[in-house]
Symmetry: C2
Subunit: 405 residues, 2 copies
């Protein structure tokens, strides 16, 4: 399951009390949840990564960018509870030490280990606790610990987020699995998103780095707004070749099949993040079709899914389609009102430049489902995209949700 | 007071039940608040305006852009309760009719009247109610009705927002007054902001149009994020010459004095919007100094003031300066961590690339004041700016405010 679904990947976890030590505890409180995991591959991986665009990058992000250059990664070490960001030179030393401690335990070179951290900014990592945790996690690596690993990287997440599938490519059965964390969907800009996808496909070196950006653009970047990212956001894809297939070449049909399978896992994980948005009670899927370009479609879909007023309207069961049109309008995507066709839960609410006189009760019932789909057809080209968000509840809703009624 | 503080400006208001009629009422319910106002100037004004950058603009915005071209505006008619946006050809006819009905009552040409609307999107204006309201408001114009006018344009605002000052320019006493509405500060992108500043200064034709953008950049655009604006956002400045001074020429010292006075009123109104943010309990002022440029400073200040996690930290009294540094990092402004100096409520919390070991209790007390100032000195140039926001309360806070503790 999860990151250990693909053959040759194992995971181990440990409860180190990182959050407690970071806050000043002198001993690990009892009953701590797992907050560290190590993922190990039996073989060196072809690896690609995309990272935060924030000018302030955590030490782990900087170290990973360095280690990726050698492209022989064979392990990941991830902690929650402390972001190791804004920690100066000490932070870099600690991130490097995390890699080295893991490498020593796994008989690797330090640059074969990538590290990620998520949690509080501006505090030094409790390296004593992390050292013990790495030893413990490396000592109990297992291919049955995929979900445990997903649980160990959670912060405010309420559920572990995993996905996997298998697909036949070039006669071989290839497995793809993944995990992610992230749940601050009200303002995704600050909630660290960490995501990892592993596959046992054999690939030509460098293929993963060509995949990772295009997969992110169609998945994680549609739940977290581009350019508004935390200090630690990371998305890593690893292929270790354990499936034994003929190595997949860039540009081949097999490469596209593998990319599509990895994108599917990434999209499943993205939807899981949206569904677990802080305070969320329902998943919102926004599809934009016939946009001027895919990029325009992505921009427009994201604007609608992240509009607080759309989110409160969905929460309140308020058929206020004006808020959707307004978000499309300020998204920056090309828009011609007289060509716009808008449905909410399958009901047409806007076309030919004006609202449709629909049965408001039916629209309201559509908004009240646990999942709701908003489809905006722009009538301008062939661009299309999806974005995922969640509703917004409580006091902000009390002020906004009843605005039209 | 307010828009009637400058000589020659009068206001009248009426309760038309626009929100009730928009929602389908067949008669005006009793006890309705004023929802329409007319502002009249004794003389034609030099007028400037800036409007929403949303690709979907309300009919009133489009009509105003047209009427401003003649630059002989002498009245404003503003309604709350219905935005007249996404209303197609009918919406344009209604906005024009609002101007014409007002012009007929005031013996003006229709293009001497600007119109604004704020409220629900996608519903036709109840023109019968508006016609009666315009007649009533025009029938009781008075220079004592400035605050009443500010109250008539409120939607979710909890208090009317007005400001005024007088200043001696070139030997004449010049008055400047203003009013605004807007309170959806959690996501200012969707909460219509309407603002009006009047002055009795005599100016050369065209001066107001050169002022309006630079004033907005230093005031209202620092509470509402550029490019993320509603369908109706409007800011209008009018100068009617009633002070009798020598007309002020562009580029003169007097012009700068007048611009500064008008900017001061605009900044007072901006702070009033932030303070009245939905659910807000305190005002946050973010000052960015020594940025690479004023524009960089504005961008950085806005990012901090609008960060939900900074806002929840302020609400929760949580000294999580990491969130401030992170917002500066993703703002897009140039940033060098080792030059950054950051204070919260006068206490240094970050310098030389790392957090300062301050008395967390003192920081927490600073966060708990009803007004809090965050000052980020970037050490890169001479750019400076302020931005204003408010704290964020309730469930989102419950999840986020205790994150470091």
């Amino acid at each position: 399951m999860a990151v250990t679904y693909a053959r040759g990947f194992r995971a181990g976890t440990a409860a180190c009390g990182i959050k407690a030590f970071t806050a000043g505890a002198s001993a690990i409180p009892s009953g701590q949840k797992d907050d560290l995991c190590v993922i190990h591959s039996a073989y060196p991986c072809d690896t690609g990564g995309v990272f935060t665009t924030n000018k302030v990058k955590s030490a782990s992000v900087v170290i990973d960018q360095l280690h990726l250059q050698r492209n022989r990664v064979q392990a990941l070490t991830i902690n929650s509870g402390n972001a190791n960001a804004c920690t100066g030179a000490q932070g870099f030393r600690d991130a490097l030490l995390m890699a080295k401690l893991s490498a020593d335990r796994l008989d690797l070179d330090p640059d074969q280990v990538l590290v990620s951290s998520t949690g509080v900014i501006g505090r030094f990592l409790p390296m004593g606790a992390i050292k013990s945790g790495i030893a413990e996690a490396c000592g109990k690596l297992s291919d049955a610990k995929g979900v445990d690993a997903a649980r160990a990287i959670m912060t405010t997440d309420t559920v572990p987020k995993t996905a996997q599938l298998d697909v036949e490519i070039g006669g071989a059965r290839v497995r793809v699995g993944g995990m992610c964390k992230g749940s601050g969907m009200i303002h995704p800009n600050m909630a660290t998103m960490l995501a990892y996808i592993t596959t046992d496909a054999a690939v030509e070196p460098g293929l993963m780095s060509t995949f990772v950006k295009s997969i992110a653009d169609r998945s994680f970047n549609q739940v977290t707004v581009d350019g508004d990212s935390s200090t630690n956001d990371s998305f890593l894809v690893l292929a270790n070749g354990a499936a034994g297939n003929e190595p997949i070449k860039a540009g081949s049909a097999e490469a596209e099949e593998l990319r599509a399978a990895m994108e599917q896992v990434a999209r499943d994980l993205s939807r899981a993040i949206a569904r677990d948005g802080e305070g969320a009670t329902k998943l919102i899927t926004v599809k934009v079709e016939d946009a001027l370009s895919d990029n325009d479609a992505r921009t427009a879909a994201r604007a609608v899914a992240s509009s607080s007023l759309v989110k409160t309207a969905v929460h309140g069961g308020d058929p206020n389609w004006g808020r959707i049109v307004c978000a499309l309008g300020y998204s920056g995507a090309e828009l011609a009102l007289d060509r716009l066709h808008l449905t909410v839960g399958g009901l047409v609410v806007f076309e030919r430049g004006a609202g449709v006189d629909v049965d408001l009760g039916a629209v309201r019932r559509a908004f009240e489902q646990s999942e709701i789909e908003i489809v905006a057809t722009l009538g301008l080209g062939k661009g299309r995209a999806e974005s995922w968000g969640c509703d917004l509840s409580e006091e902000y809703v009390r002020i906004n949700a009843d605005y039209t009624t």
